[in-house]
Amino acid sequence: MLLISCPVCSITADETAYTCGGDAHVTRPQSLDPSYVSPERLTDYLNLAPSARGWCRELWRCHGCGSWFAMLRHSGNNRIAATYRLDEALPQPPEEAV
């Protein structure tokens, strides 16, 4: 049960007050250029999930204020390094080994 702070409304609440919406910062190829999307890129976009062990960035929605934001979390131990608004600069994972 993660404890998550919403970077938009600054409420800190249990994981149950949020919904995970998959990987953040995924590029939708057709948004870049709808006129040509290569089959490979489309396949990757529709199916791939970079869900390896380690630091991952995911979209979460705050049920309280309705905002989508991103979370930088270690998928091995569930440590949360940061939550941030989608228009913010990307925070980096902490240096020290976890």
Partner: protein, 997 residues
């Protein structure tokens, strides 16, 4: 004469029986027998006081077993308490407070505890080595079901209740700075120091009392007897405004980021307004595990006989309940703990034949006190057998041998006694730490696992931390509490006056970490030296598992069942690790433990479910028209979280008859349906049109205000997710309707894309679903009916498909629709006006119709319904709705996905009409379409029926179906199976050749 456990006579001036009130006897029943105990007893102490040695039967071998421990670690004395719906199996007798009229039963025996037929298993023990079931019951294969039935019968301990649980449970949420698990000396001191640092503290203690096992020790702190000192601390903590104390409330699980489950037993006698148990969902910034330690049994042959008990448990039984384990005792110990027990026994008038100390040259204060008090002690000896003279279940003697030359017969000696009290040192009870994924290293110095690398936000204190002497425990508790303060208020200076105390307590020498006795063992002895009491795992079993290649600790556990019983091996894991290391020759520090997982002690399903049962299971949503439409108790069905009437039978009509009547009413006059549950979402703003054109496959940006269009929503794969009407309310404002089950999801979906993919588009999405009560008026007379509403005719005369204005004096929206195939109007008014609107329409003669009627109507009209004609793998083209996919937009969700090879394949399944030759045959939705109706499977299928029903309008059964290449197969005959028989049906268009309805 054979001694039995018994209650001591009251004796002034002795420390025995401090928790009981002899003046208040309690009656209870055990296995049907009436027994009596006294107030303050646990069920275990009361059973012992009544002289009962055997409290249960072991899981596999049905060996008779007595009470071994004192708390939740108890592996043997598992009982069923209560009757009827209140029956609770598998309770540890040591944790059950005795109450008047309590009804308890032993388990895993038939017919009685003393004479258990399955006890013969013990005779066949050699035939029941670990994993014997993997090697046998294989032949003949046909008999396996029979064998399995026998195995199943033999498995299991208690029985599930036969009646529903009458009790209530609740959940409570609490955020605190510090959670302290365990209210022994360490926990209390940790709480004290944390509170002194200004932190809020929840201290949760598993038993009914605070102080832990401190009452097993003597000495004084700050001039007060240990217990009095604790009393003062408890009183101060209770009065502290930042401290909440819970008893009968074990911390059962630790999770990420300081989340913990604490299960409190609120009462044993519940009423409607008092829950039996309460699940505290605690969020703590720091957690201190002060859960104490479990005394390790010594592992020697027949160490499981009733009458063999843990030494500290025996001492605590004396001190707390004035219960002595027998009359003549032998204490076997690898440390000082045994001496304390021996001295207590002596003081209580139990004869202590001998203290058998495993250590070669023990030289601690406790040993000297013991000798001075006249205990007869042998050093460097070990128990090698426990016997019962007449082949009985219990203890008549213990044989001890010199440890240095253990096999020399001359050096063994049989000592007669009726109880053996053993102490193999302490094993920190820090399993909670493992819940967070931490591994506890094996500490050879104490012969047990001891927490080391701790996850963030977690500390361990006291015996759980491998710190045992009271002096050190107190210091360690304070240290942990202060450290929590430092971590949470890093700027604050260290507390000015650090906690301190004057001690006068004896210090123990460390126990010798012995794992297994006798060290060089004979096989038949190993086969009777128990490591896991509950699951009957012996040293011999471990050796067999290893020899068969199950060498990894995890394999050993799974092959032998070591530690997987209800006690989760609390008294076993220290010993088993030492033994496994010994047997395999690995360096003990390399010996891992198996994963410690929640819960610490078992947790009832009821308390986990909490209020989520019956009508609290999942909230049902109520339409604004609920009271009216459900007044006559029509049949209802679940749609998302709603209940929607299927139809409105009158005068004992069947459902099907009601549906047909309602269909005819709509086709001939007009009907009304509660459509309030449909999703209604507005999208407003300068970029509303652009945004919607990205979200919807259908062109909508070109709609003029007042215009509507039926539209499809796809996912980016190209598959249909939802459908609905899109209406343009104004140049910058759109209204979308969605299917009932999808409203919330559709809103979330729109918001997600707007916020994450197109944040620059200026469009605001508002979920108006709950705002509107909505009535669908449908039928040839619909317009006339609607026009009878005040103001409606003026509004309708504007002619647009969507109109906003005043109807009957309130703001309303009217949208034209043709979903039923008949002229229809959806009238929406603010929710509170809904009932009045419905009533008015009904008064004007409209026939109420339900969801199944609507289904039938749209089926006749050949219209699709989401989740019927779609299943997440269906494209608009499959449904013949390609015209709803924009040919001009360069991008919308699903556009590129739709172009992939498989989605453009020629012979995909197409939506078609299906007309069974037998006009009365309705193939239920899901029925497969068979190409070749051969007598035997496999038969090729080419699709399935998506919707079906009897069409009152056509006077025959009709269906929609997805059929491979269906559009090219018009007029062909296919088959559906009904009652095991192939029945022909014809593929038609989806309009069923009905023309305009």
């Amino acid at each position: 004469m054979k001694g039995r456990p018994h209650r001591l006579k009251p004796q002034a001036g002795t420390p025995f029986g401090r928790l009981i009130d002899r003046a208040r006897p309690l009656d209870f029943r055990f296995d049907g027998k009436r027994l009596s105990g006294v107030t303050g007893d646990t069920l275990a102490s009361a059973l012992l006081a009544n002289g009962l040695r055997i409290a249960g039967r072991s899981f596999k071998l049905h060996r008779p077993r007595g009470v071994l421990g004192i708390g939740s670690e108890e592996p043997n004395a598992l009982v069923t308490v209560g009757e009827g719906g209140e029956k609770t199996p598998n309770l540890r007798a040591t944790m059950v407070p005795l109450a008047d009229g309590l009804v308890a039963e032993s388990q895993n025996r038939w017919p009685t505890l003393r004479r258990d037929f399955a006890g013969v298993a013990n005779r066949f023990k050699p035939l029941l080595p670990p994993g014997f079931y993997y090697k046998t019951f294989k032949w003949p294969a046909a008999l396996w079901p029979f064998y399995e039935k026998l195995i199943r019968k033999a498995g299991g301990s208690g029985r599930a209740p036969e009646a529903a649980d009458p009790d209530r449970y609740e959940h409570v949420h609490l955020s605190v700075d510090v959670l302290v698990a365990g209210g022994g000396l360490a926990g209390l001191c940790a709480a004290e120091a944390a509170a002194a640092a200004g932190l809020s503290v929840l201290l949760a203690e598993e038993t009914a009392r605070l102080g832990g096992i401190a009452d097993g020790y003597d000495g004084s702190v700050d001039g007060l007897f240990l217990l009095d000192w604790i009393r003062a601390k408890v009183a101060a903590l209770a009065a502290h405004p930042n401290v909440h104390l819970l008893t009968r409330a074990p911390v059962v699980a630790l999770h990420e980021q300081g989340f913990a489950w604490v299960v409190e037993t609120v009462t044993d006698k519940t009423t409607a307004d008092v829950p039996r148990e309460r699940l505290w969902k605690v969020r703590a910034r720091e957690t201190i595990v002060a859960t104490g330690a479990h005394e390790k049994p010594l592992v020697f042959p027949d160490n499981d006989r009733p009458g063999v008990m843990l030494a500290t448990a025996a001492r605590l039984n004396l001190r707390r309940y004035a219960v002595a384990p027998g009359q003549v005792a032998v204490v076997v110990t690898s440390g000082d703990e045994g001496y304390r027990t021996a001295l207590d026994l002596k003081a209580a008038g139990v004869e202590v034949e001998r203290v058998v100390d495993l250590r070669l040259r023990p030289d601690s204060p406790m040993v000297h006190i013991g000798m001075a008090m006249g205990l007869s002690v042998s050093h460097g000896s070990a128990p090698v057998a426990v016997r019962s003279i007449w082949g009985g279940a219990t203890v008549d003697s213990v044989t001890v041998a010199n440890r240095l030359v253990i096999e020399g017969a001359a050096l063994t000696r049989e000592i007669f006694c009726d109880t053996v009290l053993m102490s193999g040192g302490w094993s920190p009870a820090a399993q909670l730490v493992g819940h967070l994924g931490a591994r506890l290293p094996f500490d050879p110095a104490i012969g047990a696992f001891r927490p080391a690398d701790l996850p963030l936000g977690l500390q361990v204190a006291g015996a759980a931390n491998g710190v045992f002497d009271a002096v050190d425990v107190i210091e360690d508790g304070w240290r942990a509490g202060e450290e929590a303060g430092r971590r949470l208020n890093p700027k604050k200076k260290r507390p000015q006056n650090r906690m301190s105390a004057e001690f006068d307590v004896t210090r123990d020498d460390p126990s010798e970490p012995v794992g297994m006795l006798p060290d060089p063992a004979k096989r038949y002895e190993q086969a009777r030296a128990f490591v896991d009491f509950h699951n009957d795992v012996t040293v011999g079993d471990l050796r067999i598992a290893l020899s068969e290649g199950y060498t990894d600790a995890e394999h050993v556990k799974r092959y032998t069942t070591l530690g997987i019983g209800p006690d989760q091996g609390k008294t076993a894991h220290g010993n088993s690790a030492a033994i496994l290391a010994h047997l395999t020759g690995i360096v003990p520090t390399e010996q891992p433990h198996t994963t410690f997982r929640p819960p610490w002690t078992p947790v009832s399903f009821g308390v986990m479910a909490g209020a989520r049962r019956g009508d609290g299971f999942k909230a049902a949503r109520r339409s604004p028209l609920e009271q009216i439409i459900r007044a006559g108790s029509p049949p209802v069905e679940a749609v998302g979280q709603w209940w929607r009437p299927s139809c409105y039978p009158v005068d004992g009509e069947s459902e099907e008859d009601a549906i047909r009547r309602e269909v005819r009413a709509v086709r001939s006059t007009a009907g009304i349906l509660d459509a309030s549950t449909l999703g209604k979402i507005t999208v407003a703003g300068p970029d509303a049109a652009r945004f919607l054109d990205l979200m919807v496959a259908t062109d909508v940006g070109d709609l003029a205000p007042g215009q509507t269009r039926y539209a499809l929503f796809l996912d980016d794969n190209g598959f249909i997710r939802d459908d609905g009407m899109v209406a343009r309310l104004s140049p910058t404002r759109f209204l979308l309707t969605t299917t009932s089950g999808n409203a919330a999801r559709a809103y979330d979906h729109l918001e997600k894309w707007r916020q994450t993919e197109w944040p620059d588009l200026d469009a605001h999405i508002t979920d108006e679903t709950e705002r509107w009560a909505q009535v669908l008026v449908s039928g040839p007379e619909a317009r006339a009916l609607v026009e009878r509403l005040d103001g409606a005719s003026t509004l309708l005369s504007a002619g647009s498909a969507l109109l906003e204005g005043m109807v009957e004096g309130v703001a309303a929206r009217i949208m034209r629709a043709r979903y039923t195939g008949a002229p229809s109007f959806e009238i929406a008014v603010a929710a509170g006006y809904g009932p009045a609107l419905w009533t008015r329409l009904a008064e004007h003669g409209a026939t109420p119709f339900g969801l199944q009627t609507l289904e039938r109507l749209r089926l006749e009209a050949g219209n699709i319904a989401i989740d019927h004609e779609t299943d997440g793998t269906v494209t608009p083209f499959d449904l013949g709705l390609g015209r709803l996919v924009s040919a001009t937009k360069t991008d919308f969700l699903g556009r590129h996905g739709l172009m992939r090879a498989d989605l453009t394949r020629a012979n995909r399944k197409h939506l078609v009409g299906l007309v069974p030759d037998d006009a009365g045959l309705v193939p239920p939705p899901g029925t497969q379409i068979v190409d070749g109706p051969s007598a035997h499977p496999p038969r090729r299928t080419s699709g399935h029926v998506t919707s079906s029903g009897f069409s009152p309008t056509r006077g025959r059964a009709i269906a929609l179906a997805l059929v491979a290449n269906g559009r090219a197969r018009m007029g062909q005959t296919v088959h559906v199976f009904h009652a095991g028989e192939a029945r022909p049906a014809r593929i038609t268009g989806t309009d069923f050749a009905m023309g305009a309805l």
